[in-house]
Structures are given as structure tokens and as C-alpha cells.
Symmetry: D2
Subunit: 449 residues, 4 copies
Amino acid sequence: MSARIADSAMYGHLWGTPAVRAVFEESARLQSWLEVLAALARAQAAEGVVPAEAAETITENARVELLDLDLVAEQTRLTGHSTLGLIRALEQVLPPQVHQHVYVGATVQDLTDTWTSLALRAVGSEVWRDLRRVEAALLDLAERHRDTVLAGRTHGQPGAPVTFGWKAAGWADEVRRHLDRLREGAPRWLVGQLGGGVGTLSALGPAGIDVRRRFCAELGLGDPGISWLAARDRVAEVGAVLAMVTGTLARIGGEVYELQRPEVGELREPTRDEVVGSITMPHKRNPELSEHLDTLARLARANAGVLLEGMVGQHERDGRSWKAEWVALPEVCLLTSTALQFAVYLLEGLEVDREAMLGNLDSYTGSERALALLTPRLGRHAARSALQTALAHGRASGTPMDVALREAGLQPPEDTGASPVDTGAAGAMVDLVVARARAARAQESQTWP
Amino acid sequence: MSARIADSAMYGHLWGTPAVRAVFEESARLQSWLEVLAALARAQAAEGVVPAEAAETITENARVELLDLDLVAEQTRLTGHSTLGLIRALEQVLPPQVHQHVYVGATVQDLTDTWTSLALRAVGSEVWRDLRRVEAALLDLAERHRDTVLAGRTHGQPGAPVTFGWKAAGWADEVRRHLDRLREGAPRWLVGQLGGGVGTLSALGPAGIDVRRRFCAELGLGDPGISWLAARDRVAEVGAVLAMVTGTLARIGGEVYELQRPEVGELREPTRDEVVGSITMPHKRNPELSEHLDTLARLARANAGVLLEGMVGQHERDGRSWKAEWVALPEVCLLTSTALQFAVYLLEGLEVDREAMLGNLDSYTGSERALALLTPRLGRHAARSALQTALAHGRASGTPMDVALREAGLQPPEDTGASPVDTGAAGAMVDLVVARARAARAQESQTWP
Amino acid sequence: MSARIADSAMYGHLWGTPAVRAVFEESARLQSWLEVLAALARAQAAEGVVPAEAAETITENARVELLDLDLVAEQTRLTGHSTLGLIRALEQVLPPQVHQHVYVGATVQDLTDTWTSLALRAVGSEVWRDLRRVEAALLDLAERHRDTVLAGRTHGQPGAPVTFGWKAAGWADEVRRHLDRLREGAPRWLVGQLGGGVGTLSALGPAGIDVRRRFCAELGLGDPGISWLAARDRVAEVGAVLAMVTGTLARIGGEVYELQRPEVGELREPTRDEVVGSITMPHKRNPELSEHLDTLARLARANAGVLLEGMVGQHERDGRSWKAEWVALPEVCLLTSTALQFAVYLLEGLEVDREAMLGNLDSYTGSERALALLTPRLGRHAARSALQTALAHGRASGTPMDVALREAGLQPPEDTGASPVDTGAAGAMVDLVVARARAARAQESQTWP
Amino acid sequence: MSARIADSAMYGHLWGTPAVRAVFEESARLQSWLEVLAALARAQAAEGVVPAEAAETITENARVELLDLDLVAEQTRLTGHSTLGLIRALEQVLPPQVHQHVYVGATVQDLTDTWTSLALRAVGSEVWRDLRRVEAALLDLAERHRDTVLAGRTHGQPGAPVTFGWKAAGWADEVRRHLDRLREGAPRWLVGQLGGGVGTLSALGPAGIDVRRRFCAELGLGDPGISWLAARDRVAEVGAVLAMVTGTLARIGGEVYELQRPEVGELREPTRDEVVGSITMPHKRNPELSEHLDTLARLARANAGVLLEGMVGQHERDGRSWKAEWVALPEVCLLTSTALQFAVYLLEGLEVDREAMLGNLDSYTGSERALALLTPRLGRHAARSALQTALAHGRASGTPMDVALREAGLQPPEDTGASPVDTGAAGAMVDLVVARARAARAQESQTWP
């Protein structure tokens, strides 16, 4: 029985992807914890801390399907200890003589932090792949619409022209910076944890450091050098980067949301025939995907904030920070991966209405071109002033260009209508961004890290 | 399969209470939605908008166990519409001639917002009851420990004496203010929503306002006067008040956490024999309840922040704000109710160590008393200065009182040791706070609102 | 030299009002602190704790213009003590025999918290007045535009009609709830603080409680019953309420921002001739006021979050929470008061374009009316289905009504164009909201609290 | 007149450093804007867009002390335009024929964003230097106290031993990761902005891209490739990294705060003789620096949150996000630099009490050693169980070791007292962390970027 809408049968798809759910779901988490325990035993066997046969037996039995999960849950609640239930259930399936070789010298956080790194590796790999798909879709839009003209807008007001490809290139460039952040962060984030009670590896004797190195290597993680039980900057950074990713997607979604207003009508998100926007207002086509990107970003930010706050922990372990992570870190991962999948769908199917873009540009802007036209005749200051006066009084009767010319007592030059819209270096910037993104894509791995 | 630790079989009890889970759990939500639909039909029947028999039939069939929940989920996902799945499943169990009388003139938010108010009524009633239990426990501590002396502490440093009852009274007074906030908020929060598509009740003709009034009355909710589809201040306020409640509990928890340090040893939270603090460090008795109150408060604040941000919605419905509420509002309710139950357990079983309190007071404070002793002999400025000098140099060799007297070349007056510790008006403040709380409790309802 | 843009000569007006700046400005704060010290002396004189002449002398000299402010600053920095600089500077202007009667039995927070309440009283009075001005402007809009029809919008998409007065009434109702919150909060918030070192009033002997009562009465504040040095819920609540106020104003601003898009063109914020939206795009008329309301709300929320976090303080004083308040509380007050002044100006001068509203309604909506027209001929389900199909394929060629009729093979009934737009109970809701607001306004004080 | 305590003569030093104040102070900002304008003119001259003499004249006159700052402020407020006041004041001091060559093709954000990058370079250079000083102090502590034993603490409870050097090494390692983040972020953050009205460089004709490249090079900034007017991830990332830096410092401060409790007494922050902790409680020595680190981190987080939220901007410029940056970005810079200076002072003068550390270890821990002692005699499970029972009942009468032995009916082996405390691999981890930090320090620049 889930009390969270995130796991609702009706709405759960809005708050998680199957792949990332599968990472954080309880039995998967337990399986991963078991694998961490097995890796620990093998590392210890290699260093002579436990017998090799014990490590083998543990590895063979480190399978969640063998465990009595009710016992795990019951013992966890009974003891109030985060992993003792698991240990007891595991001991149940192991021969007695192996019991003493399970979880030797380790502490709860050795399990949970190492698991966190493993989970982040899986999540990061999803994020990397989907972020690259978002980038691919954006680069494609950038190229296809390199010269698709529309009004640039500042403060919500249409102004001088830009191209839609240039917009998309700006988004793609932002996404590329996130890919850079992920790449740079990986070696910082993907490290194991092994230290025992307070983090000194004291229960492992002189072999401690070597066991840790092998343990991390067994799991494909980096060695941290020093225990990081209360050093949560890694986790905070992951939260910040993922929240930033959702911020970018929310920005893209917001653009679609606004430009899909029928009064603007320049963009439209893809839909399926079965989708019902409103029962009573059948004409409505709601930008549900786009707006949901914003919803997800809000929640991601809130959870990232919890992780950031969690950096200020006390001593060698602070349960306050740490348990807040238990909620906030999976949450930000789930939200981000969901946002990415929505964004891929949105961008791969985005409908761009070139006529509407051009129409709005003509209808609502043009003063820049009018200014350019008037300046050589009236001088820069006088032209601007004439144009402002004209626009203030005559807005209702024509486009800014019409008004400006009429009020300034000028005839439109023959070529006014035909003059190409000047989008400056927009195309050149698109080329630059696309080229460097394509070069980076060609060089980098399709998988992360 | 839940990917949220909040629903984990192992750890779920840390993140929700059975009673509040039961409010937000999917089939309970659907049942409540059905009851809202039935109330709507009855209100419409009373105003002649639908036939009385239709309302009766709908009411009889408004039972979640009759519905095909798979169909609900499937149609919800298929149409992307938040309630169409439910409507279709309900229609399945209704005679065809009744179909057209279901959900007449209503919109999704009429269902969800009205349900939210019903859910808040249920949650608020839990919160009210448990907050009063917390208050009762605190008043009891205040009375029992009215004269239990311990060091007051500022900036983490022990100073002049206070009493533990006075501390508890300060907490109780804060809790009382939350009860006031809940009482004042109730009529603002517990209102229905009915408006149809954009909120004007247009589909109900002239009867609209009357249908709404009856509809709200049927459900025991207030009439809102005007649709509040995009006016989310109520929800934001609920979030803020609940987050403040958790803030108070976290403050109490923090006090226990700090005073339970064995170096201080003045308080100890209750525990059970089965609880295992640390496998490798058996002496450890961790303040798990206390620290968890802080964890819950962090998450509650983060979700309250989402609700506050959600006030800035667009137009007649803003899916960005609204869907973020779907997650954040239940979350803050679940977290708060959990915190309250932890706090009740903590406070009802709190162990207070009077000897340790007195011992710390003697060992680490006393300069105020020393100052009082020296002032008549040396004058106020000279006494303070002498004392500071003495303390700076002689800290290691005795209590502040010893040091001060010795360094000032004075003999301890005979009555130094025996002089009662002066806790000023602490007792009088306890009496005042307890009296007004008890008076308020006697007058108010044990249930909310 | 200010490093904060908030105090910039160029931009400072965006971040504070003169009246609220005057509350928090350093010499005003010091003057208020001096008055608190004087009130303390008078209360103590009345209870026989200090001589009446000393209290008189202190009261006469409690004038910031008499003090050496450089000394205050220097001694504050030198000692690291928040008020010792002030005490020393005050002693400088007092006869030596009075020195010992200054600040007797008080602590820093007695001064700063009591001052906070005094400052909040001044700020709250500004907020109350301006919030009522906002309400008045909104009620006026509600009445004037009770029947001004425009498209309701959900998810950014125009839908069934509403009236602009109904929108304004919804805002007004939200503002009224804030006025209720301010009224209810006042007795909780406006209390003095007096307790000495750790809050027990121990330095005042048996007179302590009576001195506190007189002290609070002298300043027109409530008596708190018990010291609240570390009970910061009052401050957190103030922050939450003010942040909610800014949230409402940002919502209104957001509506103007969106409806001022020239493609929509339904609202326009007032401007002055001298305002320059863009140097290079003279036609642009940016919704600067409206967007700034959102900016202010973001910052207010962030600061309110700091105050909420600050509730979790330790022991009898926690400098971490407390000093964060020093920044965040004035900030949220300054931001809110600024937002209110912007909002008053915005709403009192708001331009409403009835033609544009009607034009958009015709152009972009109508499916609800078409549905009403088709339903009697085709039945409810078939009508909806026909309409959806028609709209999906024929959007470009006419209004939803045109398309629906044409695709359904029907002739427009003669009265289609003339049929009044159905805004349901919008007008009735306006009447209800306006009536209750006017009744509340008539009964309540124009000043706060 | 400043209404912000941040600029108070009494308290301003708590909220800003002189060096970072000097970056953000108004005349410095205007000077930097002027230099940006001059660099623009020179870049344009080099590309033939403006005459070389105009660029020279502009460069010569780009000095804030020449401008009428009252005019700047007045015109800014009058026009509501962020830079028009500056342009008009600059034109006043330029020959008329140069006016038209000022600010050619640029927009407000070209100035402000480019200035932001310049300001960040200056701030980052301060942060880099001070963060390295913090690291140096920590490495020194790590080495000096490599073997200084104290109790590790989890959940606030003393447990198995660690060394203080190992704690410091953990902090140092976290600081090193921040240095890595700063180094990696630099090329992303330190880029110029030039695009004109909507960002396409259209006013500069075919030379646009080249002008931008030269413009950035003139200022020592990177070329962004594409305009980033609404792409605020850079700014959000800076905020996140700086907030993380303050989080680390707050963590260190929190450790000092807690370990400075006299009941613990293991650490003490440096102080000066003149500092007065409490007037009435002269013995108190408050951890003011340490607690202030937490205060600063809270505010930094709140401001970083505003920057993160600001990523979701609309179109080509969103004043809501952007103006919130005006406040939040300088704020987070000021707070971080202040925190760093406090931290340097704190760490360079930190007093470490080895005896107190050892004393607490003996008094409050030891069960791990007792367990090690009992295990060979009783077996692992029985030993743990015996120890737990003993500790639960006998806590008051001796150290955990005493209790355990007595209750288990054993005599202390002769070497109990003398057996060295086992801090496991703590020393080895210190060596590892120090070595890699020193290697990194040797290779990297002392200046940033």
C-alpha cells in the first residue's frame, strides 16, 4: 500500500521511469547490498582476513530471492538497526561457520554509501544516455531550423528576430555543459565506502587499506582515500547537477508551454489521439508534457536543497543528514530520469509552425527594422524618438513598421516587405554550437562514466 | 513495486503513520473521489439538475471495491486525463441512463481539491490529537520538573541555571501556538471546490451557486464563495503550519540529542531492549528518535517550500503548481504525522537525570553566582573584570566559583555551597504557561476542527 | 559603501520602500534599542529595582543623536558583543551614578527581540495598509469588470469564458485571507522579550515577572508569558505570511505579464512616458512591474525558508538561527513592502482591453458553446467526439464553433453569433466576494494591529 | 542609508569582506561596466565597426570618477532602464561625435553578464586563495594531530577512537574537491556576453562574431559560442559550488561548536582578550566564529536556491530570474568569502586539547575494546550480549571497560590500561590524503583561474 502518488497505478508514470525505479526498489537495493557484502568478503579473503571458502559461500548465497524478506523487515523494525535484519536473514541461509565472516569490520554506511555509488552509476548511465538523446534532438532542431525565423522575446514581449534553430542551439549548449558536469563529477562520485564503525578500518588490522582498495575494485568503484561518512559533498553535488538538468528541461518546457498558447501558436508538443485535454472543452490541447517538466524541476530542486543542507553533518556520522538523503537522493534521481524521458518525447515530436512564427514577427515586431530604416534619414536619436512617439499613439493601426513610417511621414521603400529579416549571427552561432557538440559526441563514450 | 524508501517494508514506518497512509493510499483516494461524485449528484438532485434516482444510484455505487481499478489506471494513462479513467470505470458499473448524470458540470480539480480538503480534515484531526498529546506530555514534564535545576545554555555553553520544567513549558507554549494556528486555519482550509471547466459553474445554469453550497454541506466542508483553482494560499499555509510543527518537534529532538551526549548525560530518550545502536560498539545508545525528528523536519520544510512556490500559478489552472502539490502536500502530511508519533513516544518516555543536571551546573557554570558574591565587595565593574581574568587563567583548577574566589583572594562564605541556585522566575513562568494551556485545553474540542 | 544592490542609488528602489528602510536602518534601530532600554529602566523604577531618577535620566538620554556612533561600532567589533558597544556609548552620556542602572538584568536578545516586535509592528502596519489598498483596487476591478468577458485559461490554453472581475475577485479573496492571517497573527507576534542571560529573569529577583509585564506595556507589546529566546515560531510565521503575500502579488503580476503579451493583449500595466523598455526595440512595452513582483516573491520565499529553518535552534539561545534572522527577517519585510507598493501602482493603473478579451475568446475558444449546441442534436458522447475530430483536423480554418458546425454538417443557428457568452455564476461569485470583503473592511481598523 | 544589517557599521564585518565588497560596490560595478564598454569599443574599432579614435576616447573616459553619479541614478530611476542612466552620464563626458559609438549593438545584459563574469573572476580568485589557506591549515592540523586520539562520534555518541588529524584530513579532502570544482568550472563560468537586443549580434553585421571574440579576449574572458542571456546554468552552478563550500565550513564550524562544549572540551576556537561572550556570565567562551559559519551557510544555501530556480527563464530574457540574480549572486559571493576568512582564522588558531580528548575516550567509550577482550573468552555473540546487558545496568559505576569486565566476572588483564588505542588505518588515511593534496598544491597555480 503506497501512500505516495509517485507509486500510484494511475499516476506513477509521472514520477519515475521503470529503469530508475528498478534501481531503487527494495529488493533491488537488498540485492545490491548483498553484492556489496559478497565483494567485501572476497576482498577480505584476498587479504587473508576471512577464509576463501567463506567468501565463496557468501558470494553464492548473496541472492535476495534466497532471503526471508519478512524477517528482514521485522528484524529491522524490531532492532531499529538499518542492516541487522538483513544480516540475520543472510545468516539464516549460510552455514553457521560462515556467520562470523559476514559483514566483518563493516558498518551500515559502508553498505549504504557503497550502494549509493552503485545506484548512482546506474542512474547516471540512464541520465547520460537520455541527456545525449535530448542533445541529439536539440542539435537536429538547431540544424533543421537554423534559418526558421521567429520573434525573439524579452520580458515576454516580441522583439527583434531570432531563429528557432538558434534557440535550440542555446538549449543544446546548456545540455552539453551538463554532460561536461556529469563527466567531471564521475570520478568524484563513484567511490566506495569502507571504514567500519567510525570509519578507521580498525577491525581489519593492518590489511584495512588494502581490503578497501580491493573492495572498491571488485565493485568497479574508485577508492576514496579516506572515509567520507560525514562528508556529503558528493551527494550534494549530484543533487545540484541533477536539479540543474531538470532546470534546463523545465526551461525548454516553459518555452513550449508559452509558444503553444493558441494566441502565439508557434510550437506544439506532440500528442496522441487518445489524449483528452478537457472533457468539457474539446478544443483544448494542453501542453501537459511541457508543464510537467516544470513540476518535476520544482520537486528536484526541493530535494537537491535537502541534500545541500545535509552537508552540514556532525562528527563521524549524522543520522539527520543521512536519513534525509535516503529520501531525497532517490527522489531527485527518479524525477530527473522522468523529466529526461518526457523531454526526449517532447523534443523528438515537437511541431514547429513556421508560418505562425513569421506571422507573429510581422504583426508584433518590426520597430528595430523601422529604426534601421529611419536612422539614416533622421539620425539615431531623432529616429528613436519619432518611433517611440508613433508607437505610443498609433499601436492599434498597423505593424510597428507601418506606424513608424506613416507617423514619420515617410513612404515605405519598395523593398520593405521583401527585405530579408536580419537574424544577425544567429546562423553562425548555430553552426558553431552544433560543430563543437558533434565533435564532443564523436569523441566521448555513449555510456557513463 | 515502490521505488521510494517511504514505502519500504523495512523502513516505511519512519516516513508515515498507518492512519495518514490510509488517507492518501490510492484506493482510499478513489473512494473519497467517488463520495465527492456522489455528493455532487445528491446536491444536483436537490436542485433539480439531475434526477433523484440517478443520484441515489450513483451514491449506492460509489464504492471503490466495485470498480475495475486496472481499467481506471489504464484509461488514466491512455488519455492523460486525471479523472477520465475513474469516470469510465464508474460508468461501467452504472446503468447507461445514469451515465449522463455523473460528474455533471464538474472538472478534475473539483474532485481533487474537494478531496484535498477532506483529506486535510482527516490529517488535521490526527495532527490536532497528537499535537495535544505532545502538549500534554510537555505540560506534565513542565510540572514535574518545575524545579529541576540544570544549566541554561547559550551558544552551546552552559550558563546561569534554569529548570527543566521551564524548558518544557517553553516548548509547550510553542505547541499551543501551533494549536491556535490549526484552529484559526480550519475555516480557511476546509472548503469545497466546485466550478467546472474554468471555475464559473457555467454548466449548472442558475442553480450553480446553490448546488455548490449544498455540495459543500453534504461533505461537511465550507463554501468557498469563489472558485480557488489557482488560489493556492490555503495549501501553502497548511504546508507552512505543518512544517512549523515539525520544526518545533525537531527543536525538542535536538535538545534531547545534545543533552543525551554522555559527556552531558542530562536526558535520555526511551528505548526498547531489542534496539541495537551499534553492532560493534555495544555501549552506544543513539538518540535515534530525536535525530529522526530533525530529518523529518528537513523534508517537511522542503515540501512546504514547494507548496509556497506553487502559489504563483497562472490563469484558471496551472498544472505546474498543481501537480507539484500532488506530491508535496501528502508528503508534508505524512512526515508531520510521523514526527508527532515519534515525539509523543519520546516525550512520554523521556528520562531526566537530575543528578547529572546538577553536576554539570556545578562543574561548568557558577560565574554568575560568583559575580553576585564579588560585586558587593569589589563593585560591579571590578568584580566582572577580576572574574574574567581569573577564569581566563585558572579554568583548569576548579569550578568558576572556586576560581573566582581564590583568584580574588577571598574565602568562600560559609553559605556558598548551600545557597540555593537562583532560577529566578522560571517557576512562575512555568505556572503561567501551564495554567493558560490547561485552561485552553479545558475549553477546546478534543477533535479538529 | 554598500555592496548590496538593495542599497544601490540606481536600483535601491526596487528592493525597499522608504518607510520600511527607515525601520531597519541602523540609527533607527539604535534609537529603538535605546527606547527599549529606557522602557526597561522605567518599568524597573516602577517596581523599585532602580531609582526613579535613574530611569528618568536614561529616558532623557535615550537619543541616538547623543551617542558617539563610531564608538558604538568600534566597541561592537572589538568585543564581538552585539550590544556592549551601545551600552558603553550610552554610559558615556550618562552620569556615572546612573551607569549601574542601565540594562539591568537584561541580555542582548531582550533588546533585539523586543525591537524585532516593535519593528514588525511598524512593518505590519505598512503591510496592512498597502494590502488593504491592493484589496481596494482589486474590489474596484471586480466591480467594474464584473461582466467583462474573456477566455478562462487552463494550462495556458484559452477555454470557456470567465469575466475579468471574477478573476480580480479571486485575487481579492486571497488578499482578504492574508488580512485575516495578519489580524490573527498580531497577538502572537507582537510580544516583548525580557529574561536576562538565559531567560529566567533571575537578576530581577521577585519583581521579575512584574517588571516584564510593565516593560511590555510601556512599549505597547504583549507579555509573552515565558521567554522565547529559542522559540522562533513567531518569526518563522511572519516570514511565511509575508512570503505568501508576495506569492499572491506575484500571481497577479504573472497574470498581467502573460496577458500583456501583444499576441494576447488583454491587459497592460501602467507606465510613464519616460520609461524606456528597450533602446534598440522602441516598440517594446515591458511588463517590468509585473515581472518584478515575481522576482521579489522568489527572494521573499528564500528568506522565509531561512526563518523556517531557524526554528530548530538549540538550548536557550542559538546564534546560528538567530543571526540568520538578522538578515532574513528585515529582508522579507523590505521585499514584501516593496512588492505591495509596486502592486498598488500596477493595479490602480491597470489597463483592461475589453475588445482584445472578446476577440481572443471568439478566435480561440468556443468549443464549449459548440458542444452545447451539438449535444441536443447528436447526444453528449457523439457530440463531444464529433467536435474533437473536427478540431483535430480543421483547426486552421475558423473558430472552434465554425469548425464544429461545418464538420458536423450543420448550419449555424441564426442566434449563434448573438447568443450571450455564458459566464455562469461568475457575476454572482463576484457579488459574494465583494460583499463580504466590503463588510469586513467596514468593521475592521484601518491600522494594524 | 542602508537598511540591511550586512552594511551596518556595527555588524557589517559579519556579512562581507572588504575585498569582495569592493567588487560589488556600486562605483566599482560602474567602473567595471565602463571598462566593458571601452573593451567593446576597442573590439569594434579593430573590426572596423567604430572609428579607432572613438574607441580611444571612450577608453580614456571610461572612469567612474568622471561621471555624474547622481545623474546616473536619477536617469536610471526615471527611465526604468538598467543602463540608460550610465550611457547618458557617459555621453555627458564624451565629445558629441563619439556618442553614437558608445554601446553600439549591445544590450543591458551584455554589460551585466560580462561584468558578472569579471566579478566572478575576482571573487573566485579570493575564494580560491582562501580555500587553499583553509586547506593548508587543515593539512597542517592533519599532520600535527595525525596520532592525536579522540573518540569518534556517531549520532552524537562517542564510540571507537579516531584521530583528530584524521578528522582534519577528511575536511581537507572535501576542501580539495571544492578546489577541483572551482578549477573545472572556471572555463564554463568565465565567458563574456555580447549579442545585442535579443542576442543575435544583428546590429553588428557580418563582423558580429569577430567583434565578440575580440571583446571577450580584451577582457580576458572566454568566448561563449552562443548568447546565454536566458541560459543561467553557469550562475546556478557558481551558486551551488559556493553554497557547498560554505556547507563544508559550516560542518567544520559545527564540529568545533560541539567539541567546545565545556562538558566535552576537546576543541576551542581562538579568541581575543577583548571579546566578551556574556556580560552577566563572565566564564562563558562562546564559539562565535564556529556558529557564524553555520549562519553564513544557511543564507548562502537560500541564495543558491534562488539562482537554481532562476534557470527556468523564458525566451531570450526573463527579468524575473535575472533580477533575482542581481541580489542572490553577489550575496552568495559575499557570504562565502566571509565564511572563508572566518574559517582561516578559526583553523589557524584552533586549540586542540589532547588530554580532554583522551579523557573523554576513557570515560565514555571502550566497549569496542572490551568486546575485543571478551570475544576470545566468550565467543562473539555471547560477548556482545554480555556487554550490552552489563552496560544497560551498570553505566553509572565505571567506564564501559570496567563495567564489562566486572559484570562478566573477569579480571582486567594487566595490560588493559596500557594497551594502545587502536585507531586502525586512520594514520594511513591521513598520509594518503595529505600526500595527494600536497602533490596537487605543488602542481596548481596559486591564483585562479
